[in-house]
Amino acid sequence: MAFKSEDDAKAYWKENISLMVKLMVIWFIVSFGCGILFVDELNTIRLGGYKLGFWFAQQGSIYTFVCLTFFYARKMGQLDRKYGVDDA
């Protein structure tokens, strides 16, 4: 099974890239942003015994990474179906 037309192939790829870019922005914000660049500012906020910046660096970023990969897999599954390129 392949794409019905070249336009479909282009549109599919465009949607894929746009989804990827959005998720990579979140990936960057939780790790490099919250965990490194703005860690001092966030550390003034507390999450239980954790300073928030420290929590992002050692816990929160990892949880977000897990969600991002599953979200991507799910969204791409939907995209595959939309363009008729799923194997099911």
Binding site: A2, L37, F54, A57, Q58, V66, Y72, M76
Partner: protein, 576 residues
Amino acid sequence: MDLKTMTYIVVGLSFALYLGIAFWARAGSTKEFYVAGGGIHPVANGMATAADWMSAASFISMAGLIAFMGYGGSVFLMGWTGGYVILAMLLAPYLRKHGKFTVPEFIGDRYYSKIARVVAVICLIICSVTYVIGQMKGVGVAFSRFLEVSYELGLLIGMIIVFFYAVFGGMKGITYTQIAQYCVLIFAYTIPAVFISLNLTGNPIPQLGLGSTMIGSETFLLDRLDQVVTELGFTEYTTNVRLSTTNMFAYTLSLMIGTAGLPHVIIRFFTVPTVKDARSSAGWALVFIAILYTTAPAVAGMARLNLMNTIEPVKGEHLVYEERPQWFVNWEKTGLLQFEDKNGDGRIQYTSDSATNEMVKVDRDILVLANPEIAQLPNWVIALVAAGGLAAALSTAAGLLLAISSAISHDLLKGIMTPDIDEKQELMASRVAMAVAICGAGYLGYNPPDFAAGTVALAFGLAASSIFPALMMGIFSKRINKEGAVAGMIAGITVTLLYVFQHKGIMFIPGTSFLGDTPANWFMGIEPNAFGVVGAVVNFAVAFAVSSMTPAPSKEIEDLVENLRVPTGIEAAHDH
């Protein structure tokens, strides 16, 4: 039952399990040998990937590193997990679609060049060999400490076990043993953590325990830890930056793209049936990895606190040396823990000032291994930790050895030197290559070369600066041609190697570094271990520049790239 007998039983049972799997999962074709037949369930592959990925360093060293680096240790936590997001979105699905057996094979096809393939093989072998030395050392050390056999014998036993399932089973045998090894290592890691968290905070979940108050007190554990370490003159645990913000940024990014570019991780995604499975499998891998990686900071913080509390139970009252606990005595014997009574008072002072500090050596590796003893956990938990450390080292070693042997038999022999061999001969060649690789790795583990100390940095640096950019550009650009890719890979490796060698010594030989290894001499304050990202940037820049000056790839290559982006129509996974 005494600890030694218990350890023999637990480790023996785990080894019997691996051998049983080896007997059951023998490979009958090259496809089974290289990619386990291509029919592994995504969740199972996720588990195998997690074991493949989490090495002796993750299991034994990482929590210890974090315990002494505090917040600065976050570079490992974020770097070694964030790479999977990149892998899941940018590489794994497309490389799976290509449907071949090895990473250099993709590079050779995409850049229509045997030279590109050979350059990729060289990068792969350097990364994987340096990495495998550390695993072999881990096996030898774990045996010698827990089973009290010699380092050499321990190494030999480890080699024999890997030999059975890797030579006969190839990727098929490795996959199923890795799944078993994941189960062993994750129990071994989390059970002591749960006990320790319960002891200190009353909360059985270590990830929550680290953010809770201490038992019988209103003080948060992390605040108490900050207080204890600062009183002794160390930097505050939760804010101790690793050198500089720029350095932490570069280090984290280097580890991330290095992770995504490591061939032994990438080839695991060739074993699932479809592109869709490759995407979800990356998610599952990350879940299984995250279980250990979010527990590690809790182990780190709690172990540091336990260690401090043992030595100085009440402020100003230092532990009397003669009354030190049994684990202290045990670890002193190994030389990894050393005490020197500088002021002659018979008590142990542990401070940040080297003039008064009497804990002259606290090897960071002992923290995870000694943790159950420090927390006074039962013997079976300590025995389990030994089996877990061995599982972590063996599973990663096997994955690396498969990456090495398939590059030799599939890329160099079948692909370039002797393309006429039939499948049976190639399967034989791959088994021989595996056997040779195991012996080579064993020899290097027994007799580590000078550069062994700096090897992990080298593996990640090379993967980040050579393999990752070549793969990514191959998928996302149709314009990058063979000249650009080859020039980019060579430029990326050269820059990274030069930087590492100029600060750490040529081939890590002491005394040959022509620019000293001090922050003042580092480019933008970036330490050599974190330089892979700069090499990657150079690779991208050179590849684009050279490609724009040389002819574009042919229509067939454009079609190949176009086809990578279509998630369906995997050729019945490429039977010969």
